[in-house]
């Protein structure tokens, strides 16, 4: 029996906004959120009086609400990135009627650990100092967050005799796409030699070009009913299917294996709630906070079997365009991904999918796209997936 999903195609993304991305915006996180949010609300053809819900990552809704002068909210929520929970929560809130129109935003900022300049910025130092919070694992040398992906990639390479070139193809695909996207931060051509020459950060697999590129910036979206979307200026982008996913292995080292991670939870549930199948997808936006997460998404969504993502990339590599075109047709991470557009924990992937489906992607527009599959997240908590479409 297919799961009930009465929200299918009933809620739409109707506006999108961003800010320039840079190494140092010289602005507060609130200023960036406000800038992207205003852009999204204006893009939707709405005003602040139309917004009655806010669904955001960890920058407090109350601050941005006050800064934007959103007088009354009947729905608000902060939750962790990656940026897919925010859209699913907005969809649920709109569909249930708790509110009619939700602003979603996500801000990113270069942390003091990312660069010497950032380390000397007293505002960043203060923001990063804070109180202690509960880590995923209590071990003094835990895998918490970034090291876990390098460690699990290492296990995958061990089991499937993988080649580092496969990760290189992910990085090159993102860069080639970024070269056509004016919003992207990293736009210089990238070769496999460049990839291998990059400084090692988390050995033996992850160098500088396997990790998302830290930026200051923000993305924002407006979500409302499909009914209301008909009266608004933009082509509605319908949320066809959307789920979140995580397993009980919230501590990275106890994940049984990579076939029992949040990826499988997301994709099993996402397909079960969709009337589309993989062959119907026109655009693939797999999250690439680390190159390896992106590689694994190709397997997790079903393009190929376990351990086969590398050969699949090689088979579907368009040599002339120097990027992935699945079946000669479906591009992946057309904005340049987190690796080259800028690290956004997934909001950039959704921004790009919306723009492509609206036909508003400018220089890097692909003609005739009607559906997009987004795997937004990693193997541990806070993962998710979306299928977006236009009519």
């Amino acid at each position: 029996m297919s799961p009930r999903f009465p929200v299918r195609d009933q809620v739409a993304i109707v506006g999108v906004g961003t800010t320039p991305f840079s190494r140092d915006a010289g602005k507060s996180d609130i200023a960036l959120a406000v800038e992207a949010s205003k852009n999204a609300i204006r893009d939707a053809g709405l005003t602040k009086n139309d917004i009655d819900g806010v669904s955001a990552t960890m920058l407090g809704v109350q601050h941005v609400q006050a800064a934007l002068g959103l007088e009354k909210l009947t729905y608000f929520l902060n939750c962790f990135p990656t940026f897919s929970q925010q859209i699913v929560n907005a969809m649920n809130a709109v569909f249930s009627g708790v509110c009619d129109t939700v602003l979603c935003y996500h801000t990113v900022a270069v942390s003091p650990n990312n660069s010497r300049a950032a380390a000397a910025d007293p505002f960043r130092i203060r923001a990063a100092s804070g109180g202690l919070s509960r880590p995923p694992s209590p071990w003094p040398d835990s895998l918490a967050f970034p090291p876990s992906y390098a460690a699990w990639a290492n296990r995958y390479f061990h089991e499937y005799d993988a080649k580092r070139e496969w990760l290189g193809l992910i990085a090159i695909n993102s860069r080639t796409n970024a070269m056509r996207n004016e919003h992207a931060v990293m736009r210089a051509p990238l070769t496999m030699e460049d990839y291998f020459a990059a400084r090692m950060v988390r050995g033996p697999l992850f160098g500088m070009l396997d990790m998302d590129y830290p930026v200051d910036g923000a993305d924002a979206f407006v979500v409302t009913t499909a009914e209301r979307a008909k009266d608004l200026p933009n082509k509605p982008v319908l949320i066809h299917s959307a789920v979140l996913g995580q397993t009980n292995c919230t501590v990275e080292e106890i994940l049984p294996d990579l076939e029992h991670s949040a990826h499988q939870v997301v994709m099993d549930a996402l397909w079960a709630r969709s009337e589309l199948s993989l062959q119907d997808i026109d655009l693939f936006q797999p999250y690439d906070g680390f190159s390896f997460i992106c590689l694994k998404w190709f397997e997790s969504v079903g393009y190929c079997g376990v351990g086969e993502a590398g050969p699949f990339l090689e088979d579907n590599w368009d040599k002339e365009e120097n990027r992935i075109l699945i079946g000669g047709r479906v591009p992946a991470n057309t904005h340049g991904g987190s690796l080259s557009d800028g690290g956004t924990q997934g909001s950039g992937h959704i921004r790009e999918a919306v723009l492509q489906l609206q036909g508003k992607a400018g220089n890097h527009q692909h003609p005739g796209l009607k559906s997009a599959l987004l795997g937004v997240g990693g193997f541990f908590p806070y993962s998710g997936g979306l299928i977006l479409r236009t009519e």
Binding site: N113, L132, S133, R134, P135, S137, P138, W139, P140, D141, S142, L143, P147, A150, A151, W152, N154, R155, H158, R199, M200, V201, R202, G203, P204, F206, N248, V251, E253, I254, P256
Partner: protein
């Protein structure tokens, strides 16, 4: 947990998240004993140290000393991390962080650095045993080739 022990453990780990659930683990560190919570009903070990058994929900859980023998499940050589400037942590050379599957139970895994072994010689599947290093004024569990 007597007050004096709590005070000492908290003082010896000033920048660590310590609560009632994981306290015994850190208390064990000070005695160089690796304690992992074990359910007295279903007999399963589990970690992190949740307050009751995630398998059978029993609250009859005992921090139980384990051998620390195991095999390398996976590893990463860190050239960046949170321990900048800490003695014994050389991110230039590469700081080897292991996931070790303990011999006590399939899937029971803990983390710690490798010592007494060149980074290039670390392999997935290699047997290791527990060692202890002194860092930031207290013992920290580490591993070395068995």
């Amino acid at each position: 947990m007597p007050d004096s022990n709590v005070k000492e453990v908290l003082e010896r780990f000033p920048n660590t998240w310590i609560d009632r659930d994981n306290f015994a683990m850190f208390e064990g560190f000070l005695e160089k004993r690796m304690l992992i919570n074990r359910c007295q009903d279903c007999q399963k070990y589990f970690q992190p140290p949740w307050p009751s058994c995630p398998n059978c929900w029993s609250e009859n859980v005992e921090p139980t000393e384990v051998s620390g023998n195991g095999v390398v499940h996976t590893f990463v050589i860190l050239h960046t991390g949170a321990l900048v400037g800490v003695e014994g942590v050389d991110y230039m050379k590469g700081y080897p962080l292991l996931v070790v599957e303990l011999e006590e139970q399939e899937g029971l895994r803990v983390t710690g650095p490798m010592v007494n072994c060149a980074n290039e010689d670390i392999r997935i599947g290699m047997p290791v045993r527990l060692n202890w290093i002194e860092r930031q004024g207290h013992p920290v569990p580490a591993f070395q080739p068995a």
